[in-house]
């Protein structure tokens, strides 16, 4: 039986950012084991095979409830960093205080100010491109200059400078030692030129540290505990079961598998697996009058905050608007480029009936049981149409078409090991340490008490740094 100082499950954002900070605080003699369920498929393999992993995510879990609701992630070394779109807004200060400010959802046990230095650190690691101004307080400039606006973006910015910004993104504006500059192919799920930050191109050195052992194709099966203390992780590799002992266990397997592994291990926290949710997005197309589009330098160039924060959030969901620079043309001679794709990403309020549980027919797999999105989100979507003229002021527009329905997934899995100050209604504390098993840390978006309209990856990465710094 191998013995380590720490065992970390998973090698995506949450685990890797935790590992990076954790290593800075460990002695040279420390031993850290990282268990990764999937293989290491490098960028060349991914391009050749046009996919990020040989593991089909849908084969690893079951779905129940709303059959239209899907969930998306990538399993393998680097996790979902291989398939993300690299959109990296911070959450707004009020996102952490939804109950206090708007009387809905619940407050996070950590606040924006506490997390701010770790946001900066995560942005530095990912070499984020972003604007000089921002809708959230910043103590440092972004590491990279902003991506170029399109002409419609510039008009929206001119009309509402306080609500419209260049999207902060981990799609490189300028090349780094390991990444090319983004050239706006708009196929970011699998970037042809390796311009977006991934664990593979941005944190290889962390895994090359001599204190770290990375075991690939090693599927964690359970957290071993004894007398309220985590003693290690049982895992399967090459058809054989093994146990890695450690004095610290870190679970970063994603929002589907974090609660599943804890449930499989006999944990019985009241909210474990509950509150499964993610953002819901609606697409729209604006037909412009006399303004050409598509002069931007990346796939998504603008962020609109007009409908994000404000008193409306006490009644319905806020949303973040994205403006898209992926060329698709209008079928009207002379006006091909007078078209703008928009996406409105709404927050959802978690419900305990939406949950991850163990499959009764195949206990080796989780079930994502999702009954429905909240009325809060649906009310936000309903309110959108009436707000569009205000949102798009500054743009000459023929008409706007809203696509019917909410998209099936935003590729985020949130809320299933919720953090909080009270052990009675949360699974982990403000430092992501399990309330009862104090040498077990759970990282990733599964700890989110509420899911803001902002994409969650930057925040979960900052939370991992924060957790490792406070061990």
């Amino acid at each position: 039986m191998a013995v380590y100082d720490s065992v970390i499950v998973g090698s995506g954002f949450a685990s890797s950012f935790f590992l990076q900070k954790h290593l800075t605080r460990l002695p040279a003699t420390a031993r850290v084991l990282v268990l990764e369920r999937g293989p290491h498929k490098d960028h060349a393999w991914q391009i050749e095979n046009r996919r990020t992993t040989p593991i089909e995510p849908d084969s690893t879990f079951e779905r129940a409830g709303d059959r239209d609701k899907t969930w998306q992630f990538s399993l393998g070394f680097g996790g979902s960093s291989n398939c993300w779109w690299a959109c990296t807004p911070r959450m707004l200060p009020n996102d952490f205080r939804m109950a206090t400010v708007y009387g809905v959802g619940r407050d996070w046990p950590v606040g924006y100010d506490e997390l701010e230095p770790f946001y900066c650190e995560a942005e530095e690691i990912m070499q984020i491109s972003g604007p000089e101004d921002a809708p959230f307080p910043r103590s440092r400039p972004y590491p990279q200059p902003p991506h170029r606006f399109t002409d419609p973006d510039r008009r929206l910015k001119a009309r509402r400078p306080e609500h419209y910004f260049n999207m902060p993104t981990a799609r490189a504006r300028v090349a780094t030692d390991t990444r090319a500059a983004c050239c706006a192919n708009a196929v970011c799920r699998l970037c042809p030129v390796d311009a977006k930050f991934t664990i593979l191109n941005g944190m290889k050195e962390t895994f090359a540290d001599p204190r770290v052992t990375l075991l690939l194709d090693a599927e964690a099966l359970a957290i071993e505990t004894e007398g309220g203390v985590a003693t290690g992780v049982r895992f399967r590799r090459g058809g054989r079961e093994e146990v890695a002992q450690a004095s610290l266990v870190v679970l970063g397997a994603n929002g589907m598998f974090n609660p599943f592994l804890l449930l499989k291990s006999g944990f019985d926290d009241p909210l474990l697996g509950r509150r499964l949710h993610e953002q819901g997005a609606v697409e729209a197309t604006a037909y412009l009058d006399g303004v050409d589009n598509f002069q931007g330098s990346t796939s998504i160039t603008g962020h609109g905050y007009l409908l994000y924060d404000g008193p409306h959030r006490s009644r319905h969901a806020g949303c973040l608007m994205e403006s898209w620079n992926r060329p698709f043309f209008r079928l009207e001679p002379g006006r091909y480029r007078q078209i703008l794709g928009l996406k409105f990403i709404f927050e959802d309020l978690p419900s305990e009936e939406n949950r991850v549980e163990i499959s009764s027919s195949d206990p080796s797999r989780p079930v994502a049981r999702f009954v429905t999105r909240s009325d809060y989100l649906q009310a936000g979507v309903r309110a959108l149409e009436a707000s569009l003229p205000r949102v798009l002021e500054g743009l000459p527009i023929d008409r706007v078409e809203l696509a019917p329905g909410v998209l099936p997934t935003e590729a985020h899995v949130l809320g299933t090991t919720v953090m909080g100050d009270d052990a009675a209604d949360s699974v982990v504390d403000r430092h992501l340490v399990h309330h009862k098993v104090r040498n077990l840390v759970v990282v990733g978006s599964s700890v989110y008490p509420t899911g803001a309209p902002a994409n969650p990856t930057l925040t979960l990465s900052a939370l991992s740094l924060h957790a490792a710094a406070n061990l």
């Binding site: 391009i47 046009r50 604007p131 000089e132 200059p145 902003p146 991506h147 170029r148 606006f149 510039r154 260049n166 090319a180 500059a181 050239c183 706006a184 192919n185 708009a186 196929v187 042809p192 030129v193 598509f294 002069q295 931007g296 330098s297 990346t298 620079n325 060329p327 698709f328 043309f329 079928l331 001679p333 091909y336 480029r337």
Partner: protein, 148 residues
């Protein structure tokens, strides 16, 4: 008997081809002809050599895997698509839309240097082939912060 949309499209294609009254569909490379007609319908001002048009159509068909049934349906029913059921009309519209999208990205249509001259095929826009950068409209100059 319930007829699926696919069966309907295939039936339409079969009737069209078997009818032999439509010379376009009887020609050797009729699929390329359908693509060329879509381009000429929606981009009427594009003067393109036959060789470039054929090369574009071939590359488009090779890359997109468009079915012969859909192409035949477009050839026969395109002129009357406003009278078709919405689902069928939608598929034909999508074919036109994708074709024009690829055509405009594959050529120098938007290149200001072209002026009023003929349009030339530059490269089929495949981000996973060639240089890896396939968006000719993107601009990468650095603007002052206020306009970035």
């Amino acid at each position: 008997m319930r007829i699926t949309r696919r069966q309907w499209l295939l039936g339409t294609a079969a009737v069209a081809v078997a009818g032999a009254g439509i010379p376009a569909l009887a020609a050797g490379n009729w699929q390329e002809g359908v693509i060329a007609r879509i381009v000429r319908t929606h981009v009427p001002d594009a003067q393109l050599s036959d060789a470039d048009m054929t090369a574009f159509a071939r590359a488009f068909l090779d890359n997109r895997g468009i079915s012969d049934a859909l192409l035949a349906a477009r050839a026969v029913l395109g002129p009357v698509r406003t009278m078709l059921p919405q689902a069928v009309a939608g598929r034909l519209h999508k074919l036109d839309s994708v074709t024009i999208n690829m055509f405009l990205l594959a050529t120098d249509y938007f290149d200001p240097a072209r002026g009023d001259g003929p349009v030339a095929l530059i490269a089929y826009p495949d981000p996973y082939g060639g240089s890896g950068c396939a968006n000719p409209l993107a601009r990468f100059d650095f603007l002052p912060p206020a306009q970035a």
